[in-house]
Structures are given as C-alpha cells and as structure tokens.
Symmetry: C2
Subunit: 297 residues, 2 copies
C-alpha cells in the first residue's frame, strides 16, 4: 500500500467532454484544444470516437481530427472504437491506440449495445485481434463500475470479471468508469480491491465522473493501491452541460492539483492546463466546472 | 484508526455562507433558511456573527435573527463573537453557544485583528471566561491551518499549539479551517496528525473550503482519525459569490452524500437539505455550488 510516484493523466475532454455538446464544435476548435493540452504537458489524450454520426453527430469529424494531428509525435492520441466499422475507420487514419468499452451492468449493456456483457466482450475481441495484428495498443473501458442507472448496485465481482477478461483479450490497461458519478470513497475502494484480486494495479485506470462531487475523494481513496492512470477532462467537461447536475468528468485541473500536492508527478503544467480549460469553455459557451480552473483564470 | 459511526454537521451557511453576499439578505430569508436546515435534520447551525456592521453589514441583524429563533429548541444555534462587545450582544440574546476565532498565521492575524496570535488568544480568553460563567458553550476556530494568503505554508506545530491553547482555555471543540481552500489530502492528514498529538479527535472539527475542489478529498483523508464535526454550507455558499473561483465552503449536500455512502450517520435528510440549498441560492440569485444539489433540484 503506497502512493504511486507518478500517474498518467488521460485527458478525455476532446471525446468524452465534447461528445454531448449540442452545438457543433468545429474540427479546428477540437484540434486547438488538443494542441493546448499537449502544450500543458498532457501526454495521453482521447481525441475522438469513431461512432456512427447518427448516434453522436459531434464525433462525425473524427477522421478529420486525426488527420490534423501529428500521430508520430510523442503524445499518445487514443480514439474510442465502439465496433468493427469504427475500428476500420480508425485504422485507416493510422492510429496507434484505440479504446474499447464494455460495462459491468447487463441492463446498461443491453440498452447501449443491445447485447449481453458476454456478447459485447465477443464483439470487442473482433476489434482487439486486428488491432494487435496491426501493432495498435488497445485500452479497455468498463462502465458502471460503482452503479448503474437501471440496475442500481453492481457487484464488484462483475467489474473484476469484465476487467480481467479485457486484459486477457489483450488490453494493456482497463479504465474503470463510474459512469453516472454515483460512488463514494469506501465503495470505490471495495470495488478496486476486488478488481485487484485478478488484475494488477499497473494495468488499472480510473475514470470517475463528478456528478455528485465525489470524484476526487474517490480517486484519493483508490490512490494508495497504486494505479496506472486517471481519466479526466479539462474544465470538468462532460455529461450534458445544459441539463441540471451539469458536472461530468472530474476536472483534470483539480486532479492535477491534488496529485502534485501529494508529490505525485504528472508532467503537467497546471497554469497552462487551466488556460486550455478556459479556452474550450469560452469557445462552446459553457461554464468552467473546474474549481481551481475558476481560480487560475 | 477507524471511521466514526456518526458525525456532527455544523451548517455555517447563514453566517459564513451569507456574510460576504453583497445584496442585503432579509432577516426573514435568513430565518427561513435556518428553519429549512432544521427541517432537514441539521442539529447544529451557525446562524450569525456579532461583528461590527461597519465590517460586515450583512450580519447587522444578528440580534434580530437570534430573537426570531426558539433558543430552547433542540437545535444548537451557535454565533460567532469576534470580540468582547460582540459577546455582550450575543449574551443579551440568550445564546447557548458562541464561537471564537484565532489563526495559525501571524500575518493573517495581524491583518484581520491587528495583533499577534498570542494577543488574539488573550482577547479570546476575555470572551471565554464570562461565557463559561454564564453556562455558554464555546467553540473555537483556527484559520489558515493548511496555508495562508500572506505567509504561504503554515507549520502544523503552530496549528497544534493554537488548538491546544483554545481547548485549555475552555473551548469544548476546535474547528480547523482551511480558510483559503488550498490544502491537499496528505497535507491535511499530516496537519491533523500533529494536532492530535495534543488534542483528542473528539474535540476536533474540520472547516474546509472547496476553492480548489479539494475539500471532500481532504475531509475523507482526515475521517479515519475519527473527528467530531464537519463545518459545511448548503449549496457551497461562501467565499465571494461574485468573484472568480466562486466556490467557498464545502457543500453540506456533497459532504452528507459522502458520509452516508460510508455508513456514517448525520441524522440529515439529503433531499430536504438540497431543497434548503436551492431555496437560498434562488433567494439571493447565486449559482448552486453543490454538485449533488444540482442533481437533486
């Protein structure tokens, strides 16, 4: 039980943060945000989702975003590929990493992908195999690890099972998502302890939403187990900015401030990071959900 | 090292939450807020400050607020008394508890009360003595326990010294204030560990501001030491609602959600609490800084 000396921050704002924004965000704005994140020292950025524009119109320009980036740079650009068609599009762009997702909730999986968890894992295998054949790294997501909008409580054993299966399939890391931001610290610890019985901490990431203000406390509670990465979003972008309870992903700025205060390295410059958060919130006209972002700007 | 089974929530919104609100908040509105907090099950409420109206005009009606409350009820109404004159006014209202404050920073004390920390402690003694003679309980505050806007870092030994001195003078409990919301979890733990060398946990309260989004993580980090109380404010009221970095006191709603999720009792109904937060933010026209408050309303 020791805190890690450094943690990989995966900023997901260009994808998870923007995908539900109603007004169209131009490719130029997305690319400018990505460049500002790089300038701030963020080395891992989830830049797009190759999902059907029918479902997520905001991500229709995924290929354009990828084509505007230098995929040979030292930044790790990752993209979400929900299915084989999406993966083919990502492959055509020359991506080096893709992310696949399943969930620990049967109802959530049924509603989102119209299949069971095991069926979704089979579909994912059809993405992972060709990805690895093409030397593309694969990161896994497990949604609803601390609760589901339909099933309520989720057994930690289910989270551990889906996580281990994704690792066995070839994911280098699995990010555990509190998709609806419903968890509290002890529950987060208990869930993680169960997962760590089958999967080592250096292959685990945490993706917590701040819907109920708990994300940072939950992350802190889990840090002592030594995890590899934290997913977050500048300005706390994510969720639906126009709905009540607007806060979505935990704010990268607030996470970085906490980690640096604990002596955990991220390689990120907090002031430049806050500028990136202010830039995108001004561009799309939403409030900055980062507490410290509002102090620094 | 065990989490407490129950914690006393001291909602400070009528005082700390409103004192810096620019427009005048009517006595009726303050009393209505206090009654809504009581209805939600809050048993400890800081309702006013007997400070000179010259410095804090918003608290000019402190006596009116007190006179509108049933001081014989089971609710513990506490009031801030910065000096002997303020205490005399509180005494005249028949209060059962007063709060006094010092700080762990010499510069902060000099700027706020134009004296040294030791001089401020002597002045406080002139309040505590008559208070105890009149069977009035005294709660102590120590400001700047995790950092000072003028001195920067504050030695934990200084916090421990001021805390112990207030307890020795007769305070039943001392609330440790991260006045500028600058602390992070490990720093909060280290500070508390130093304080607990001289003062038992059952006499310690925590008063953390959420300026940089760290308050809940800091509270969680300290909970395992077993503390008596947490100061918080519905809707995260406090700080200056019109300044950048608006967030002030940690939101009572978010704290209660975390504690209940950890199996720690507060006696508070979260839904009714959220209604109280929504009521006051609507009344004074500021945004609701409680994450879960925005979900429940």
């Amino acid at each position: 039980m020791a805190y890690p000396t450094s943690i990989r921050i995966v900023d997901v704002s260009p994808r998870d943060g923007l995908q539900n924004v109603k007004q169209e965000v131009s490719t130029e704005t997305k690319v400018a945000l990505i460049h500002q994140l790089e300038t701030a020292g963020v080395k891992d950025i989830e830049v797009a989702s190759f999902v059907s524009p029918k479902w997520v119109p905001q991500m229709a320009d995924a290929s354009d975003v990828l084509n505007a980036l230098d995929l040979k740079s030292s930044t790790n650009f990752t993209v979400l590929t929900p299915n084989a068609q999406g993966f083919e599009r990502a492959l055509a762009c020359g991506v080096k990493e893709v992310a696949v997702f399943s969930a620990a909730s049967e109802s959530f999986t049924k509603k989102n992908t119209n299949c069971s968890i095991d069926e979704s894992l089979k579909r994912i295998e059809d993405i992972i195999r060709p990805a690895l054949d093409n030397n593309i790294r694969v990161r896994g997501y497990v949604s609803c690890v601390l609760g589901c909008p339909y099933d309520g409580d989720i057994p930690a054993e289910k989270v551990a099972y889906v996580t281990k299966t994704l690792i066995d399939m070839g994911c280098y890391e699995v990010s555990l998502g509190d998709t609806i931001g419903i968890g509290t610290p002890l529950k987060a610890k208990q869930m993680l302890e169960e997962v760590l019985k089958q999967t080592p901490a250096h292959q685990i990431g945490l993706h917590f939403h701040d819907t109920r203000g708990q994300a940072l406390a939950n992350l802190y509670a889990c840090l002592e187990y030594g995890i590899a990465s934290i997913d977050s979003s500048v300005a706390g972008l994510g969720g639906c900015p126009y709905a009540k309870g607007a806060s979505g992903n935990v704010s990268t700025e607030d996470v970085v401030y906490m980690l640096h205060g604990m002596g955990i390295e991220t390689g990120i410059n907090l002031e430049l990071l806050a500028k990136a958060g202010q830039y995108i919130t001004h561009q799309i006209g939403v409030s900055n959900n980062s507490r410290i972002g509002n102090v620094l700007n």
